[in-house]
Amino acid sequence: MKSIWENYKTETAYDELMCSEFQPRPISYRLCQYLNSLNKSDIDKRKIAAELAILEMGITFTVYSDEGNIDRAWPFDIIPRVICAKEWRSIEKGLKQRLKALNCFIADIYDEQSFIKAGKMPAEIITSSKNFRKECIGMKPRHNVWANICGTDLVRDKDGVMYVLEDNLRVPSGVSYMLENRVITKRVFPELFQGLDILPIDDYPSQLQAMLASLAPDDVSKPQIVVLTPGIYNSAYFEHAYLAQQMGAQLVEGSDLVVNDDDCVYMRTIEGLEKVDVIYRRIDDDFLDPEVFRKDSTLGVPGLMRAWKAGNVSLANAPGAGVADDKVVYAYVPEMIRYYLNEEPILPNVETYLCDNPEHLEYVLAHLPELVVKPANESGGYGMIVGPHATAKEIIEFREIVKKNPRNYIGQPTLAISTAPTLCKGTLEPRHIDLRPFILQGEDTFVTAGGLTRVALKKGSLVVNSSQGGGSKDTWVINREHE
């Protein structure tokens, strides 16, 4: 009988489960002990069971193309990633601190811009940001919170420290997969949940519902909450439907909503028009309202911005919140925490070179083969270069791209992001992972216990995005205080 660990070689990167090839970390001791008791055929059976569950539960990414609709099953690795609850409590604090500061920043940017006036950030960064919406100047959303739902990406470097890689403040997705991953793991490894104190995660929909309700205009006792989706052609449609269903909210498309002369938003129901109080929108600003943003948008609702500005409806996240979802602005978050909250940042940023700054630009251009260089406003891992993995030709080409538009690029050292044992053809191998916790801020703040762990399934790859060969794992925050 062969062990599933026979090929396991920890690399220079920090491994989340193992101290060395043979020695599990204290937090993962039980899990590793259990995995040791399984042979290859046992583990294959569990893997097949998980795949079947994913298909039956219909956890898919839908890719619509000319050849028809392709449902791609969600790529899931059955080996969970673990985090110690003690460490998590500190991360959680750090995430709340960060989102609070970001929200102070956004509110300030659309108000008196004291951060810029105090010389903490050059004004050009905002004036040149394509996510800065002048239409939002002077607005005060409920609780003066603009980014109500945030997905922050964390990575652990070889020094064992968790760094913030980016804050997704526009329409972050993935939370439904976090929830479904747990459901599958419970089905596949029910034995493991006995005797391990794993923090539950399934209260997220209730927390989301409560947060959205806290945004409703004051005089509404039972607010009508809707989830606004671009529709079935969107790759995250599964998540929109899932969250609406879990919250008991209505899932609507732009054409279901209408803004009347009274500047209120209504939905078209079988009983006629019904007023809507809170919209959890999963549509980018650009498409939200053809009267204000892209004129050709058929996904949005004409007049929505009018209704929002009149205070008759709340939008989460607020339009314009994306101004802080910019990799250049990211570099200033530690300063924001000091400035607005008068605190020291709990979670460190990754060292960042802003190509807008001539000295930084020079450094980036000279050190491209060692750095990761990314566009400031893209997401999904597009348009970036990982220096150590790029060819000489790619480096030369990228150098020209950066020179043409330095404002749009940032450079960061290539981190040796941490690994975790991942099932590859019947045995375990280390694969690089990150973590996306979800943070909610309305009247109160809330952080998911753990988050979505994404894994680069290709050997050596550092790109975890699902569109580029990434998968995901269940994430366990384990409390060991009772052991």
Binding site: L55, G58, N168, V227, P230, G231, S235, Q245, I283, D325
Partner: protein, 327 residues
């Protein structure tokens, strides 16, 4: 509830009902043909005829034999009325109304869809086909059962009942078309000899044999079968019963305008149908009229409650521009 959701739930129910009907129709017919002598005018062709798909079928296939007809009705994804197309459409509708239904409803339809999709090539073989159709029937019943047991009997549920009953009444009237063959003056001696078997088969196609025996308590004969399947108000698949259930739903739905009145008229019309001693041509005329009236009812429901938004081509383009930050 959203008008859009009402429309999708209505169609979801129609497609599930259609899936179940095709599965039962093919199963029952297959059983019947095993009993009949070769050459009798009750062949596979009749199934195509019931579905009013003669033209489309003959454009694709030469002869109406078992292989072609079952392929056409069960697995042909290009024929919109096939079992697989109906099930796919049901799945697409439930995927977009998941927010209104219990989790298990989606999983049930999805599982059934995967089952048919993965076994679609094996249905040429009779035993495989029998097994698959049986699983589909079970799946549809489980779906109906779990909605009835898990879901509030609220407006969304009423739209599901509306869709189910309209589709059901329509299918019953189509299956009764078969009866017109049994009434033809020109029918063959073989046909006359097997008449009882054929009438029983008609009842079986609608799961009505046992209920007929209990209700009519006489030997199976044409007049009584027709009366039972059209006028009875207790048998779930009789036209009368479907109309009564539709009327119940409509009376409880908001903004029902003139519809309750229309239903009173329709019910009176159905109960006034007289099939005693009817000829083949008379029966055909009655059934055509009935089907038209059901079509009109669908139009009234649609005008009254559903959203009428033309599909916009540009939507798909825009969604593709929108890359979610997660992708």
């Amino acid at each position: 509830m959203l008008s859009r959701s009402a429309e999708r739930l209505y169609w979801l129910a129609r497609y599930i009902e259609r899936t179940e009907n095709i599965a039962r129709l093919v199963s029952v017919h297959m059983n019947l043909l095993m009993d009949l002598p070769i050459g009798v005018e009750m062949g596979w062709q009749q199934l195509i005829h019931i579905n009013a798909a003669d033209q489309e079928f003959h454009e694709k296939y030469k002869s109406a034999n078992e292989r072609n007809v079952t392929r056409f009705l069960i697995s042909d994804a290009t024929y919109m009325g096939s079992l697989f197309s109906s099930l796919s459409a049901a799945r697409e509708n439930i995927r977009t109304t998941r927010d209104l239904l219990p989790d298990e409803a989606w999983e049930q339809v999805n599982e059934m869809y995967l089952l048919v999709k993965n076994n679609i090539d094996s249905i040429q073989n009779r035993s495989n086909r029998v097994a698959l159709l049986k699983d589909v029937l079970k799946g549809c019943q489980r779906f109906t059962g779990l909605l009835s047991g898990y879901m509030s009997h609220n407006n969304p549920y009423r739209f599901i009942r509306l869709g189910k009953n309209i589709e059901r009444a329509d299918m019953t009237s189509r299956i009764l078309d078969l009866a017109s063959l049994l009434l033809a003056d020109t029918r063959s001696d073989d046909m006359r000899q097997y008449e009882t078997i054929l009438w029983v088969n008609l009842l079986k196609s609608l799961n009505a044999q046992l209920m007929y025996r209990q209700h009519v308590r006489s030997s199976v004969n044409g007049d009584d079968v027709l009366n039972f399947l059209i006028l009875n108000t207790n048998l779930p698949r009789s036209v009368g019963c479907c109309i009564a259930d539709i009327a119940d739903c409509i009376n409880e739905l908001p903004n029902n305008d003139g519809l309750p009145n229309d239903l009173i008229k329709l019910n009176a019309y159905v109960q006034g149908i007289n099939t005693q001693g009817t000829t083949q041509d008379q029966l055909r005329a009655i059934l055509d009229d009935l089907q038209n009236k059901l079509g009109e009812l669908h139009g009234r429901i649609s005008d009254n409650w559903f959203l009428h938004i033309a599909e916009q081509d540009s939507i798909q383009d825009q969604v593709q521009v929108q890359i979610s930050s997660f992708a």
